[in-house]
Symmetry: C2
Subunit: 364 residues, 2 copies
């Protein structure tokens, strides 16, 4: 069902210590085409190669595109596992519906992920904290400038070996609370993992960086009060012994890591309130000494502790700017599950049947 | 300064009666590259050709892209003119700033437009109502998955001969007022002509079409009350002898046609109020018999009369569903200026120095 064309010109693999994020790509990619008359067809794994598109292709003009991000891990036992691929596949199809893109066959999608990882198994890094980042995406390819959904699409999966997010250990970040620009609004496409949501954040992100902040915290578009996301992560707060996170209102992404963190906390008997959270509430709790911890969650960082906020010029230190105990426990447990050192009681890890290769001989 | 590589394989030109919109493209395109170290460079006109991009190019994943749309007209006197290209160039650079894309040199941009039209002059259609639609666009090309602005871009201009928007005369459309989904919000990127703003409208547009409506009217994201745009056009209302249009709040596009219509009306002694307009106000005026006309404005249609609205299930007929006198006068005057049959007292038409070719021999 999936045709495989092996690359005859394998690339040199980069040293594991220099991987970074999304800089290097493996030898192969998966591709699938869509035509209104044929549906999705021609599933194939081919050598990693440029996409050749008409300059009038709708992706360039009207932004009809969706992506996902997930990881394969070289476990401590040498086995290669995917983290919750079914959740990413389901979310991609929800995004497809919102963006008027034809849905993908979930079984074919999963088979494509597994087959591509098998073909490029030598690219899965083995050093602690490294992983194989997988980027499925769909783009509208019809060469027609009418403002309407495309009748042609390409779906592709590319993969990138990525380095440890915290090479020197988990570390809190400083966050700038954006009170003018917004990322998305209820009724818009903030819940879909579509390209335009990301470009929309660049200006604020740059301004924050220039002021020494790592990321931006987004507030709601209507009142600039309700907390939405942090950078491209979901966000959690521990206030006076209780954990809360913004509810899925329609304008924020339903993070796979977010849902995993909620399940983990609940398995520990810690209730998580998914609710509306205002920035005022967080600041009041902080000023009263009741804001114990805060952290972002996402595929790249897994858990990213927040050490400091800056909102309307007022800085708020969280937990003395150090990584909180709960943040650390969540990070250790979830990465432990991902690397196979902590029991996976949730059925999150999908065995690929592959045995990873210790690549220190080639990659170092 | 602009290198020209002539195509040696000229395409057959389609019959003028079958042009449609954005389906056919001319023999050449303009291209310009950006590298952080070199700035914008390598201005060239080359044969119309596919773009070859790494699958990790940021345009596919993070949607950092901007476009413009303007037209060249074969005048009734045979001379070829551009409509307000400086306005589109200025807006493109405003969009660039919002989307963290390096600004373009306005003089080079204008020179590129004029040189490309000259090279492909044989593609400017001559039949009444036809024009040469010009689509400048910029895309982020760096192959890197980090969520940050690209360090590499391509700017291109493609051109498409387009048919008469109203082959059977100007005609009112039926509009569905969207009260759930939104296009953009204040603080977001609705004011920028960026791809993601368009894909965000497809779902509502499809729903409206399935119910027999041509386009969607967008309301503000915060209260779903304030009128923003119609489809991808600005919108005007004539209520009780007064003309109004939504003010440029930050979430709507600053249309070049919109500003031209305002200037035209003011030159006729008709004041235009740029202000907040609620859908309730429009309905109340309609029920009271005071909503005389409504129309959309944009580069494609110029003026598009609105004959009927549907909001929360309530239909509202405007001017008995017929084209209003003011809409017709505006359409006739503005298209007259564009085709050179009405005096251009505003200095809108930019002479290209080209003599158009009557192509009925080849194109029919």
């Amino acid at each position: 069902m999936i045709r495989v064309e092996q690359s005859t010109n394998l690339k040199a693999k980069p040293p594991q210590g220099e991987l970074g994020f999304g800089k290097y790509f493996t030898d192969h990619m998966f591709m699938l085409d869509y035509e209104a008359s044929q549906g999705w067809h021609d599933a194939r794994i081919v050598p990693y190669q440029p996409l050749t598109l008409d300059p009038a292709a709708k992706v360039f003009h009207y932004g009809q595109t969706i992506f996902e991000g997930l990881k394969a891990y070289h476990g401590s036992d040498g086995r290669v596992r995917l983290f919750r691929p079914e959740a990413n596949i389901a979310r991609m199809n929800r995004s497809n519906v919102r963006m008027s893109v034809p849905e993908l066959d979930s079984e074919l999608f999963l088979a494509a992920l597994e087959r591509l990882i098998e073909v490029d198994a030598a690219w899965i890094p083995s050093e602690p904290g490294t992983s194989l980042y997988i980027r499925p995406f769909v783009i509208a390819t019809q060469a027609l400038l009418g403002v309407a959904p495309s009748e042609q699409y390409q779906f592709a999966i590319i993969m990138s070996p990525v380095g440890a997010y915290y090479p020197e250990g988990i570390n809190p970040v400083r966050i700038f609370v954006e009170s003018e620009h917004v990322r998305a609004s209820v009724g818009g496409v903030g819940e879909a993992k579509t390209a335009g949501n990301y470009a929309a954040t660049f200006m604020s992100q740059q301004t924050a960086k220039e002021s020494g902040y790592t990321q931006v915290m987004w507030l709601d578009s209507a009142q600039h009060r309700y907390i939405e996301e942090v950078g491209s992560m979901n966000v959690f707060f521990c206030i006076d012994g209780k954990v809360c996170t913004p509810a899925l209102s329609g304008s924020i992404l339903a993070g796979v890591t977010r849902s995993s963190i909620i399940q983990l906390l609940e398995s520990w008997g810690i209730e998580v309130l998914e609710r509306a959270i205002t920035i005022e509430e967080v600041y009041e709790a902080g000023r009263a000494g009741l804001l114990e911890e805060s952290f972002g969650t996402g595929t790249a960082a897994v858990v990213s502790p927040i050490g400091e906020l800056c909102w309307r010029g007022e800085q708020l230190l969280i937990g003395d700017g150090r990584t909180g105990a709960l943040s650390k426990r969540l990070y250790d447990t979830l990465t432990g599950i991902q690397y196979g050192t902590v029991e996976d009681r949730f059925g999150w890890m999908r065995e690929t049947g592959l045995q990873g290769i210790i690549r220190s001989d080639i990659m170092e």
